[in-house]
Each structure stands twice: as C-alpha cells, then as structure tokens.
C-alpha cells in the first residue's frame, strides 16, 4: 500500500484532496518511482534527470512524493505553508531539497526547461528534463514561444507532460496535442491515472524531436 495518501493527509488534514493536488499525483509518482534517474543521493549531480513542476500551485502531491522518496523528512509536511516551514503553497528550489525550479507564476517552467535542454546539450550531458504543465497553463503565451523553439532546435532531451483536467476557459478538444504536433513534437495522449501507460509514454525518448505526453484526468480533478 502506497504511503502517498497518508503523506498528503498530513498537509490536507483529511482524505479528500483539493483538485489541483490530485490531478498531478499519478504523473509525479510515476516519474519519480519509475522514470527519472534522480534520487536524494544524485540531486546535486550534473547528470541527474530534471523534473520541473511548472504548474506550482497545489504542490501537495509533489511534496508527498518527494518526502516518500526521501528528499526531505516527512515531519516537514504537517507545518507546510507556515512562516517557519520551507514548504510553501508554491515550491522554492532554494528551500526544498529535490525541487528543481521555484514556480507559482504560470508559463515559466517550459521556457526554463528549453534553456536547460540547451545547457545539457552544450555540455554533452545526456540527461533529460521533464516539465509538468497544466492544460490551462498553456493559455500563457510564453509557452508557445518555448514550444516553437524546442522543436526548431530538435531538443530531444525535453519532455512536456500536460496534465489535462479540462480547466482551461475557451478550450478546444484535441487542440493541445494538435498544436504541439503542428510545431514538430512527438505527441502521445494517455490516461493520466494509468501508471503503466504513463510509464511507457514518459519513458519513450524520440530521437531528434521533443516529446509531449498529454495525460487526461477527470474534469477539474
């Protein structure tokens, strides 16, 4: 039995979790448990895989997974959001071991990850950078600057996982995958609750192009 629900309850106080926290839960678990080559021992190493949580609000699932993987003590969770706690309602890379970027304002993670993929390439490092964005986060135009360049420069170290809980106003069905595909990305859509499907999609690294995994979850979950 996974420890994650109990760890999340330390922050939320009950078994019902807020929607922003649970929509990302399975994706983040699969990344840390099955896909990313990163651990508390390797977090300072230049050859680690990077995970950028761009959609920084509702980070309970993220904190629970990081605590479960041993990046910081479980005892931190109960006090989250308090003045003395390193765990904020948006994560800060300078405060939380294992957190790669400080996020909160939407539309920054993917552009940062493009720079990171370029930095890995320039230094001959074969690691990957995986960015989690929300479907509504893609409203931000900064993402579109980034996804255009990533494909143009064939940044195959870069993976975007879009957690799609249909929370964007003015959404058009199928638009997310279509737009990435139009720019030259490898695209795949999966059930965002199916761990085996997520693992398969997130482990795949196409050569010569960035890839996007659109993970569908329940509406506004």
């Amino acid at each position: 039995m996974s420890e994650i629900p109990r760890l999340m309850s330390l922050m939320t106080g009950d078994e019902k979790h807020s929607s922003a926290a649970t929509s990302t839960l399975d994706v983040i678990r699969v990344l840390y448990e099955r896909v990313l080559d990163v651990s508390p021992e390797t977090i300072g190493g230049e050859r680690r895989d990077r995970f950028y949580l761009s959609k920084g609000h509702g980070p309970m699932a993220y904190y629970a997974v990081l605590a479960d993987r041993g990046f910081f003590p479980e005892s931190w969770l109960a006090e989250w959001g308090t003045f003395e706690s390193p765990l904020g309602f948006h994560p800060d890379r300078n405060l939380v071991p294992g957190v790669e970027i400080s996020s909160g304002s939407l539309g920054h993670g993917l552009p940062l990850a493009v720079g990171t993929a370029l930095g890995l390439r320039a230094q001959g490092i074969g690691s990957r950078v995986v960015v989690l964005v929300g479907d509504a986060e893609l409203d931000e135009g900064s993402n579109h600057e980034a996804l255009e360049l990533a494909a143009a420069l064939s940044l195959d170290a870069l993976t975007v996982v879009v957690v799609d809980n249909r929370s964007s106003s003015y959404a058009v069905p199928g638009r997310i995958a279509d737009r990435f595909a139009a720019e030259g990305w490898h695209t795949v859509s999966v059930d965002g609750r199916d761990h085996d499907a997520l693992e398969k999609a997130l482990s795949h690294r196409p050569v010569g192009q960035p890839n996007v995994v659109v993970a569908h979850v329940e509406e506004k979950s």
Binding site: R93, E100, I101, P111, V114, G115, T116, A117, G119, S142
Partner: protein
Amino acid sequence: MNPRTQFARTAGDVVETDPSVALVYAEISGQFFGEVEARHPDRVINVGIREQLLVNVGAGLALTGMRPIVHTFGSFLVERAFEQVKLGFGHQDVGGVLVGSGGSFDSASAGRTHQVPGDVALMDTLPGVHIHAPSTVAEVDTILRRSVAGSGLHYLRVVGQTNSTSHTDPGLHVVRRGAGATVIALGPVLDATLAATEGLDVTVLYAHSVRPFDNRGLRAVLATPDVVLVEPWLAGTSAHVVGDALRDLPHRLLALGVGRQELRRYGTPADHIAAHGLDAAGIQRSLDGFLSVAA
C-alpha cells in the same frame, strides 16, 4: 568601434575562450554574431522574436551551471520580460549577464517603444543585482569580461552616448576635487557634467558601476552636504542610495535625469539629451539654481 559593436566583439571573444559561456539573443544584433554562432552553434542561440523565452532560456542555461549572456534592446529585455528576469534569475537565484542596448536616447527617432529610461530603476528592485553603465568601448570590454567571470546577476546598459575617458575600477572615481557640493555623474554623462561644472568649486565623482553603490566613496570626499546626481535614466533612480549613504547627515539632494513625461518627439539622441536637461547647458542651469540656494 562603438559601445554596441564592442559588446558584440567582446561577447564573441568570451564565448570563444570560455566553454561555460552561452550567448542568447533575439534577432537583435544578430548581424554581429554570425561568425561565432557558426563556430559554436550550441552556445550561441538566437531564439527569434521571443523575449520572454530569451530571458528564461538564459536562466535555464544557468540552472545547468552555464554562464549566460542575454542580449536584446533594453526595452524588450528589461521591461517586456521583467517577470522572467525577476523569477527566472532573481527568484531561482541563478546568475547571468543581461546586456540591454539602446538606453534612454539611442532610438530617439524610433520613439517611446524603443526607449528604456526606466531600466535601472526596474532592475534596482532585484536584491543583489549589479548594474553597470559603461561609457566607453574600453569600459564595455572590461566590464563585460569582469561580469561574465564573476557571479550573480549583472545588467549592462550599452548605449551610444560616450565619455572621453575610461575608468576601470567599479567604485566612485574622484574626477575633480572642490570645497563645495559633490556632483555624481553616473554612466555616459561625465563629459557633460565636467563641462557644466567648469570653474565651479565642486567635487565631481564618476561611476560606471552604479549598483551596488559606493557609499563609502561618497562619504570619503563629501565637503558640504550638498549632492547633485546626474544620471541618464529616470531622474531620482539613485536618490535612495544617496539618501542611504548620508542617512545620518542633514543634506540636500538635486537629482537630475530623464523626466517621467513622455516627450512624443523624434529627432536625435542629442535632441533628447538636451530636452531632458542633460546636456552641459541644461546641467549648468539646474546647478546654478541649486547651488545659489546653498550659498
């Protein structure tokens, strides 16, 4: 060679000699980077007309341990993409060298969209930032190399207006010593300030590196507690650092700089410098009023 072409030459040279340096730009100045980009395509990156991306690509490179030089016109670098500067560099706490060209006056004929008198004030909101306003090609070369070799976040303001002499050290330089007021010229306004203070018994100080401000240098030479700031960006931008340096002294401050009012005029840089009272005659007029009250 002018300050902007010197920037391009030095940046290319630094990329050539230091494999940890990357140069990121957004079309602007691409005409200067062709050769070095062809030799180092992984480290000289044109992001297209995408300034939000420009800044965060620089920050993302810094997250991998590289030292980015990030360049476009100052208006698009600092104002359009300020949240990227604040969060990508400031909040992530990674370093880099941002180089904005154009400043307040270079694009006089292009209009307000290409003028950035507010850049120093805006960058000054970031904790620990280093802000430089080199005023000769030699200063551009020295300061860019020093900033890239250093750590933290640096902003270089590269403009066409120049002074006739170069200074290498970052602190306040004593250019002229007098018994009266202290006039502080920041960046490429030193020549005009010297002409305006000709024959006056005042001290003239100069700095190209304006943040952190050299409080100690000001205190060391202060004669009478009358201070005049001359800065070719928003008037009053450095008033708070002078106030901080003199916090225990009753003092008077005249802060000259670019006015907040939008001129809605075209013309030349010289036209705009004069319109904001930052040519020698304008500085002299302001000084006359201020110093006559002191006497």
